[in-house]
């Protein structure tokens, strides 16, 4: 690459991140490279009605290149490799990216629609560190309990059906008929369950566990291992397991529930009394982003266009701009927002990266131990 261009880009990114120095976004670089969850950035190719890219490309002159990633760990790995401008990071990746200096602070003055962002998300701890904002909120949603509505005539009240051996309403045991998520972050779901059922453990946040609380969560998961035939990793394999493998209940995303329901399968979802974990994603900018101007234009676009409204419908998620529920910028309606859990914000414990120095109790079990121990639990250890 031409050295002059490199210096130019570095100067630009410096300019655009020093607050008070640059008042507006500069010329477009012609493209922006984004790491995103599958289904997050649609240009009308999967379904014509869902397109929030084409208009942006014409208006801004920035071509949008998307690289999809299936897990948070994969996103961190891609950002560590470099070559991308933006990432739609969940809370269990965002803090790692900030700690690894892979993302940079953003200047909210350069994003005119920042003021419209949900007040509950503006300074959320998963993208704000030391008062600095490291991105714009993108989408959020709960990890719901999906169930077979033929087996459960009434919605299950508790997560216990996926954690403990019980007899289901159809008179058969839940052994082999439930699933769990194949990612270390599922340990937090177990901790969330214990928070409600074993208050004596004193868990304050499912992401901040001391050794004793962590061991209790792992023991619960070891019991769960006996119930689970196969853990789900790929959303489409989970849907297949609900159809052909006799699975009747599992933690899941509204995405699978919506697709299975649209195929006429007897499924529904609920947030049980223990509450649920959830994800809140943030558009974050790479610390060495080659296309900072297009990146800023895209961040503005994510908040101001039909994206919030239509993506919420497409993904079964909630917009980060509350106005999108009602302003008719896309297909989302107020009822749609309630169905997707917009009002359940307080019941949801959003994904965060577990770290050793935690707020609630000083010393916690860090994420890398979650990774190796969860592999062990699935392996029967």
């Amino acid at each position: 690459m031409n050295r002059k261009i490199v210096y130019g880009v570095m100067a630009l990114s410096l300019l655009s991140t020093s607050p008070g120095f640059a008042a507006s976004v500069g010329e477009s670089e012609g493209q922006v490279n984004i790491v995103a969850w599958p289904g997050y950035i649609e240009r009308g190719e999967t379904d014509k009605a869902f397109d929030w890219v084409t208009k942006f490309e014409t208006a801004s002159g920035c071509k949008v290149n998307v690289k999809t990633a299936n897990t948070s760990d994969e996103m961190v790995a891609l950002m560590n490799e470099g070559g991308f401008d933006l990432v739609t990071a969940s809370g269990d990746a965002s803090l790692r990216l900030i700690a690894g200096k892979r993302v940079q602070e953003i200047d909210t003055d350069l994003i005119p629609s920042w003021a419209t962002v949900d007040d509950r998300l503006k300074s959320a701890p998963w993208h704000t560190v030391g008062g600095k904002h490291y991105g714009t909120p993108y989408m959020w949603g709960p990890n719901v309990l999906m169930y077979n509505s033929k087996v459960f005539t009434a919605a299950p009240e508790s997560w216990s059906i996926v954690f403990e051996e019980t007899t289901l309403p159809d008179g058969k045991s839940n052994l082999g008929r439930v699933q769990a998520y194949d990612g270390p972050i599922h340990i937090a779901d177990a901790a969330n369950y214990l928070m409600f059922h074993k208050p004596e453990l004193g868990i304050k946040s499912p992401y901040e566990l001391n050794q004793e609380q962590y061991d209790a969560a792992l023991n619960l998961l070891r019991d769960q291992r006996k119930l689970v035939g196969r853990y789900w990793h790929d959303a489409f394999i989970q849907m297949d397991d609900f159809k052909n493998e006799g699975v009747v209940a599992s933690g899941s995303w509204p995405f699978q529930v919506n697709i299975l329901a649209s195929e006429g399968q007897p499924v529904a979802s609920v947030i049980p009394k223990e509450g649920a974990t959830g994800w809140a994603d943030t558009t974050m900018m790479h610390s060495e982003a080659a296309n900072p101007n297009c990146a800023y234009k895209w961040m503005e676009h994510t908040l101001s266009s039909n994206l919030q409204s239509d993506l919420a419908v497409w993904f079964g998620a909630n917009p980060s701009v509350p106005a999108a529920c009602t302003n008719g910028s896309g297909m989302l309606t107020k009822e749609g927002c309630s169905t997707n859990g917009f009002d359940d914000f307080d019941q949801i414990k959003f994904w965060q990266t577990p770290v050793s120095k935690c707020e609630s109790q000083g010393e916690c079990v860090p994420y890398y131990r979650w990774v190796s121990d969860y592999i062990g639990v699935i392996g029967g250890r």
């Binding site: 760990d73 790995a77 560590n80 700690a99 890398y368 029967g380």
Partner: protein, 316 residues
């Protein structure tokens, strides 16, 4: 260049091509080196070189919070391999590879024997087609098809149910360790799919080695009073052994490295290939992935060394 050099005794060719041809004739080793250079470079740099650059990574370690690699020599990553959870993965994969290899030998030998000694003409063509046909279709299609065959509400369960053998299937699935809720979520299912997918790689080498066993040796063995069992034990088997070993290298190493089958069919317990994929592609823990990648190489090296000691390659 001066004129004196162009006219040399013994040189009848002129022009660049002619002089090159003379040069190669005088120095045959130069031609050999030139011909061998491209494939050797390919093998050395692209193949072995990239492999070593991966293996080198196994001596680095990862910063456990930010996920960035620390480029300092350490054996910490190898110590991690000995953790119970990781050790389980290695043991599980090796046992599965051994089981798949043994079962493929047992199934492949009679098939190859028939094809090599009895099948003729059209029958032989059908045999080749039958063995090769599965190799022509996509690997993923086959595995997903097997997921549906083995599913709890799949074809196989339906078949067992309709002929009244359901209790047999349930008894098998009730076995500890290898059983499960359905064939598709048990080790038995993973084993069956591995066996199906890698079987051609065992049949073809065994068949090739059996083709080369001279018929007169078998007749001589019979004339000298050997029973059929003795002929098989002392004549056919030793001569077919290189084929069996060649086939077992395929099935064993392919099973050791596969990461797709156990993810689609099985109980979610990781195999080495999946661990490499998870640590490298997903978690960005390239050092641990590289350390895991070294394991099959060591196992295969040990396996080949054992096979050589047992004389498997003597007949080559």
């Amino acid at each position: 260049m001066s004129r004196a050099f162009t006219v040399q005794p013994g040189s009848v060719h002129t022009g660049v091509a002619g002089r090159l041809s003379d040069l190669f004739w005088r120095r045959p080793k130069l031609l050999l080196a030139l011909m061998l250079a491209p494939p050797l470079l390919w093998l050395g740099i692209i193949y072995v070189g990239s492999l070593f650059s991966l293996l080198l990574q196994s001596f680095f370690s990862i910063d456990e919070f930010s996920g960035l690699i620390q480029y300092e020599f350490t054996l910490k990553t190898y110590r991690e391999l000995l953790r119970p959870a990781n050790y389980d993965i290695i043991l599980r994969t090796t046992l599965m590879a051994a089981a798949v290899t043994l079962a493929s030998v047992v199934i492949a030998f009679p098939i190859s024997y028939f094809a090599a000694r009895y099948a003729r003409g059209r029958m032989k063509a059908i045999f080749y087609l039958g063995v090769m046909l599965p190799l022509w279709s996509s690997y993923l299609v086959k595995v997903y098809a097997w997921k549906l065959i083995l599913a709890k509400e799949g074809i196989l369960s339906w078949f067992f149910d309709s002929v009244g053998l359901m209790p047999v299937l349930e008894a098998v699935l009730a076995l500890p360790v290898i059983g499960g809720n359905s064939l598709s979520v048990s080790y038995i299912g993973t084993f069956l799919v591995f066996l199906y997918v890698w079987l051609p790689f065992m049949i073809l080498p065994i068949q090739a080695s059996l083709e080369r066993v001279p018929a007169n040796l078998l007749e001589a063995s019979g004339d000298l009073g050997a029973s059929q069992g003795q002929t098989f034990r002392y004549v056919v088997l030793p001569l077919a052994l290189p084929g069996i070993v060649a086939g077992s290298i395929f099935t064993f190493s392919l099973t050791l490295g596969d990461y797709i089958i156990p993810q689609i069919v099985g109980s979610s317990r990781l195999f080495i290939g999946q661990a490499v994929y998870a640590h490298q592609g997903t978690a960005g823990n390239i050092p641990l992935a590289a350390a895991f990648a070294v394991v099959p190489i060591i196992i295969m090296a040990f396996y080949l060394w054992m096979a050589k000691r047992k004389g498997a390659f003597d007949a080559l």
